[in-house]
């Protein structure tokens, strides 16, 4: 019984941990996109180039959140 409860508590900790892990990348992706929108508004002719860079930035930032998603499975 106690073991089950501990296992449940750890599973809940995982959910909490992922919530924490998602804060940083969330802010990061928001910054990347907002700056891209600003830049495109200033120089619309660079839009296609900026978008490619934006996807790259999102991919790098998002990797952190996805590593957070993977960690519970690794340390289970």
């Amino acid at each position: 019984m106690a073991v089950q409860e501990t296992a449940l508590a750890i599973a809940h900790l995982g959910a909490l941990g992922y919530g924490l892990a998602a804060i940083g990348p969330g802010i990061g992706v928001g910054l990347v996109v907002s700056k891209t929108i600003e830049s495109i508004a200033r120089q619309p002719e660079l839009a296609s180039k900026l978008q490619v860079t934006m996807w790259l930035g999102i991919a790098f930032t998002e990797a952190l959140a996805l590593i957070g998603l993977a960690t519970p499975f690794i340390f289970a």
Binding site: W55, L56, A59, F60, A63, L66, I67, L69, A70, F73
Partner: protein, 284 residues
């Protein structure tokens, strides 16, 4: 009656058993380790996901051989108005060639690495899209084996490209950037080593897999919740309203998954290209 049939179908398609228990069972990671179909307990064990991968590989091979033969024929007969099928091939191959390879690497190097980039793009796209195709319902890239192979291909290619261009000097360029104070060199060396030669391939594989895993789990969650809200013995009027909400959510997420499938294929190929470009660049 029609609606309940459709929901049952959706729930079974999402990989659920149609039986409704008293308790809601959220999807687990076991979704990605389905029962073996052929050759159980050997290294050639075949399950649903492996079957989907093989199906997609065969499909890609057939489509691409058809496209190549069309291109050849058109070139031989100097026929410049393409048929619809041929146009589809030209557009999708030109997308990888023009807006990924040429944009990042320039024409010469872009064409040099185009075979790898195009292969990567279309394999990732094909394997991702099965995640939302009814009755397949799981993407071939949602188990980490395939992404590891693709990431390894990208990894060895950018190291090969760097060594071919700069020789042994490549590692010095990659690991010891110019203009760093001597005091920080060991630290910078370690960080560059970690980020360039370890984290790059790991994040490439993990990003793809985890995107597909999260997408699949979300879809299963939505559709199994719909199934539960409609058909559990406890279901009443207002829980059915919840069910309609989760079904709508599931539908919207399905559309979102189409976007994610394309986006991840694009991002994977783009990152592989950028890594090659960084390896080819004279200074970092």
């Amino acid at each position: 009656m029609l609606l309940s049939n459709a929901l049952n179908l959706a729930a079974t398609m999402a990989g659920l058993s149609a039986s409704s228990g008293d308790e809601f069972e959220p999807p687990t990671i076991g979704e990605f380790f389905p029962q073996a179909i052929l050759f159980p307990n050997t290294i050639f064990e075949m399950n649903r996901i492996m079957m989907i991968r093989i199906l997609i590989m065969v499909l890609l091979l057939v489509i691409f051989s058809l496209w190549t033969s069309k291109f050849r024929k058109a070139y031989k007969n100097q026929q410049f108005v393409p048929s619809r099928f041929q146009l589809m091939g030209e557009i999708s191959l030109n997308f990888v060639r023009k807006s990924i390879a040429h944009e990042q690497l320039g024409e010469k190097d872009g064409d040099r690495f185009l075979p790898l980039l195009a292969t990567t793009f279309f394999i990732v796209l094909g394997m991702n899209i099965t995640g939302i195709i009814p009755s397949l319902n799981i993407s071939g890239t949602s188990v980490i084996g395939l992404p590891i192979v693709l990431a390894a291909a990208a990894y060895f290619t950018f190291i090969y490209a760097g060594i071919k261009k700069h020789g042994g000097h490549f590692f010095k360029l990659a690991l010891i950037p110019d203009g760093v104070p001597k005091v920080f060199l060991p630290l910078v060396f370690l960080i560059e080593l970690l980020s360039t030669f370890i984290l790059r391939p790991v994040t490439l594989a993990l990003r793809l897999t985890m995107n597909m895993v999260a997408g699949h789990l979300l879809l299963v969650l939505c559709f199994s919740a719909t199934q539960f809200f409609f058909f559990s013995p406890l279901a009443e009027g207002f829980t059915k309203a919840f069910g309609a909400g989760t079904f709508l959510f599931g539908f919207v997420f399905t559309l979102f998954e189409i976007l994610v499938a394309f986006l991840q294929a694009y991002v994977f190929t783009l990152l592989a290209t950028v890594y090659i470009q960084l390896a080819l660049a004279d200074e970092h």
